[in-house]
Amino acid sequence: MMTTPATDNPTARAHAEAFAGLVSSLPGDATARQDALTRFKAAGLPTRRVEEWKFTGLDALSRKVFAPAAPAITGSPSRAQIEAIAGVPGAIHAVFINGSFDASLSDALPAGVALLSGASVTPTATGEGRGQSLIALNAAFMRDGVVIDVADGARIEQPLALVFLAGGDGAAVHTRNVVRLGSGAALQVVEIHASLNAAGATFSNAVTEAVIGAGARLTHARIAAEGKSALHHSHAAVSIGEGGEYVSFALSVGGELTRQESDVRFAAPGGTARLYGAYLGRGRQHMDHTTRVRHDHPGCATEELFKGALDGEAHGVFQGLIHVAPHAIKTDARQRNVNLLLSDRAVADAKPELEILADDVKCSHGATVGDLDADEIFYLRARGLSPDAARRLLLTGYVEDLIGRLDDAAIAAAIKARTDAWLGEEQP
């Protein structure tokens, strides 16, 4: 009733059928993968009847069959193209083609960074809750990704750019990253998800687990910039230690359907989470940002800001839950979602949610939906700007206000390059 049985969905069926033939070639513990597949089959794919998926349907996985992709495909880009796709100045690049590491396109990995395929990571049920069966599917089929261990006190200055390229019509790509920061460590990671061949429809399903130690700081950006017919689901399951900090930026500019989830949990008192996101959609794009922050300990702070700009017939979704457990006093949580509807047929849905079980807290959320401010456009036009130029200037400011909140210049630059490109394509 609540979900589609796995056997009723062609994509789910294709995965179940491919499993036996594939499992021996996949790294890690086959039994754990089998268990994950069983969990996925039991849960089925989420449908809109599951509250967490109320605004986003996965019909595209029924309309077309997506099967686990072959590990390598032809037509790889050049190293220069990789750097252009990543757009992170001075980064260490790790490149994955359809979920498999490509050493020829990647930089030498620094100490502490290993490949998942070499690290024999056992898939866990991390983050698998209601409506999260795609994570179980990932656990069963994940092929590669990185496992990063940053030692206590180590501060990695160079950002790490993880470039995930998918291609081949009907390819399903499951990748997983594990990031572990010791006490006082610091790291910046950018995931870039892009298409090798914009013409084919691909389904990428990326999961990142992060454990942030006491006083450590992780900056984690996810850029979903795949081709027009791509489906993209990504999930970040993050645990923050005492006084630790997680800074996240989720950008959606590509794909036919994109859903980026963040599931953040404070594992000790005094942590900070700063979650930012932008979704810039046009055409018939559907972009969903879903966050869940669980304050299970006292004295933690959350700041969330998600901004949407929706043109054409684009559909933007923001769902944000802030949960404050009993006794998680002195919680300071602020969440804001702003949506601009730039065309008559654009659609915005928002569900900001507070769930508060402790009294000594400061929590707020706000959500707005509207068009660009007519007064502001008038102001600029009165100073000689054309309507298009005025709109573009306001949109640029709207997005840059968000990017400006990132302290990490290289990551901010990578995001800005993407948003500038989107604004440049803007058709009045």
């Binding site: 006093i329 509807l341 065309s343 949610e353 807290v361 400061k362 707020s364 959500a367």
Partner: protein, 486 residues
């Protein structure tokens, strides 16, 4: 605005409702437990209803049987499953022989509460269920006011009477806002509704007094299924008060009412509720399940529907008074205070459907949780593609008193028109120690200080209440939160 005279008048009219409403003509009757087509036929027959209404009820019953989901599970409430075959769906008022003979036999705690609320003595007798034949000498007064309303063409009577006397109006509007099979509880109500109020305000008439009913739950183990329908014709105005600030003596669990409002061109309906049914004891035993469907439709241009509610009672409140803004320039408002204490659960809010251009809505919700209670605001603002220039402003504030309660906010915002402006703000906080200290330092007791601060927190909503309710409702907030602060 309202003089003591008009208050008496309101009570008189109310009292008239009781004397000639469903209570008296049902005397000594009780259908067997359970629900089936025979019971539906029995209820309809007892009320001498026409064939079309019986058919309507039977259809609703069939739809209810077919509701695969059974009762809704999405709200943040929990209760043991309800055995719908273990309830009485039709019963006469409790025999007067069992009722207390005088106030001396009434629970002193209840009397103390009446005292704090300043309820007039004779009214206390009614509320406490004292077996007094003529509590108010009001028959003549009621008749006078009925005549006065009659002169203006206003119809204000029980639903049963309306079915007999004004079948065309009832037929036209009943179920037109809340269809029979709208949701599980509304569907159940459609099949077995007992009675309720019917109001019709003719074109251009401004109802000169605030219409009011005190609903009462009568006999033990009887689910109550009121059905209220208010129609304001073009250019008319009516303010309607429902409920009662005083706790009432009753032992029923389930209450599934339906209220439908229809406002035509330039008409305005103001609907105010104070709900203070039995919330159960400190351990959450007993208490009313208040599962209510309330919805208004603005069917004409510039129509306005305003819901104001103060919800302090019931073990569980599940209620979302909504407005369908179907016509150009229509306005919907929702002002709510929901207080939960001990083990009460409230999941309440509103839905504003912007379906036409230039529609506006305002939502102000104040949730106060204390004890071990759970209090949820759940709301929907939907702007349809046609609703150009729609405007919504929503503010939801939660106040938490004590570390064992919960205050939650779950808004849904769905916008399909670029020219709409929708704003939602929500906060959650506790009563600050500074505020309490300030009040205490000026000689207020802790409970008075909390009451003062809570009333300040709710001021924007309380101001919207008609005079009749405002004073009592303010005291009620204090009483409801008694024992919540150390």
């Amino acid at each position: 605005m309202s003089t003591p005279d008009s208050m008496d008048a309101v009570r008189a009219v109310t009292e008239g409702e009781y004397k000639y409403g469903f209570v008296t003509d049902m005397d000594e009757d009780r259908a067997p437990k359970g629900l089936n087509t025979d019971i539906v036929r029995f209820i309809s027959a007892r009320k001498n209803e026409p064939e079309w209404l019986l058919d309507w009820r039977l259809k609703a019953y069939q739809r209810w049987l077919g509701m695969a989901d059974r009762d809704p599970k999405w709200a943040r409430i929990s209760h043991p499953p309800i055995d719908f075959q273990d309830l009485y769906y039709y019963s006469a008022p409790k025999s007067k022989a069992d009722a207390p003979k005088s106030l001396d036999e009434v629970d002193p705690e209840l009397l103390a509460t009446y005292d704090k609320l300043g309820i007039p003595l004779r009214e206390r007798e009614v509320l406490a269920g004292v077996a007094v034949d003529a509590v108010f000498d009001s028959i003549s007064v009621a008749t006078t006011y009925k005549a006065k309303l009659g002169e203006l063409g206003i119809i204000f009577c029980s639903m049963s009477e309306a079915v007999r006397e004004h079948p065309d109006l009832v037929k036209k509007y009943l179920g037109s806002v809340v269809p029979a099979a709208d949701n599980f509880y509304a569907c159940l109500n459609s099949a077995v509704f007992s009675d309720g109020s019917f109001v019709y305000i003719p074109k251009g008439v401004r109802c000169p007094m605030e219409l009011s009913t005190y609903f009462r739950i009568n006999a033990a183990q009887t689910g109550q299924f009121e059905r209220t329908l208010i129609v304001a014709d073009a250019g008319s105005y009516v303010s309607y008060l429902e409920g009662c600030t005083a706790p009432m003596r009753d032992e029923n669990q389930l209450h599934a009412a339906v209220v439908e409002l229809v406002a035509l061109e330039d008409a305005e309906i103001k609907y105010s509720t104070v709900q203070n049914w039995y919330p159960g004891d400190k351990d959450g035993k007993g208490g009313i399940y208040n599962f209510v469907t309330k919805r208004g439709a603005c069917r004409g241009a510039r129509a306005k529907i305003s819901w104001t509610q103060v919800e302090t009672g019931s073990a569980i409140t599940w209620k979302y008074p909504s407005v369908l803004l179907e016509a150009e320039g229509s306005i919907g408002e929702f002002y709510s205070v929901a207080v939960t204490n001990n083990l009460q659960q409230a999941d309440t809010g509103t839905k504003m459907f912007h379906l036409a251009p230039n529609t506006r809505s305002t939502i102000i919700s104040k949730g106060i949780s204390a004890g071990r209670s759970q209090n949820t605001y759940r709301g929907l603002v939907r702007v349809a593609p046609k609703a150009a220039n729609a405007r919504n402003y929503t503010q939801c504030d939660s106040l938490l008193i004590g570390d064992a309660c919960g205050g939650h906010t779950t808004p849904y915002i769905e916008v399909r028109n670029r020219s709409a402006r929708v704003e939602h703000e929500a906060t959650a906080s506790k009563i600050s120690d500074d505020q309490l200290f300030y009040c205490r330092a000026r000689g207020l007791g802790t409970e008075d200080a909390v009451s003062l601060i809570v009333n300040g927190f709710c001021k924007e909503v309380m101001q919207k209440l008609p005079m009749e309710f405002a004073v009592e409702a303010q005291k009620l907030l204090g009483v409801s939160l008694e024992g919540s602060v150390g």
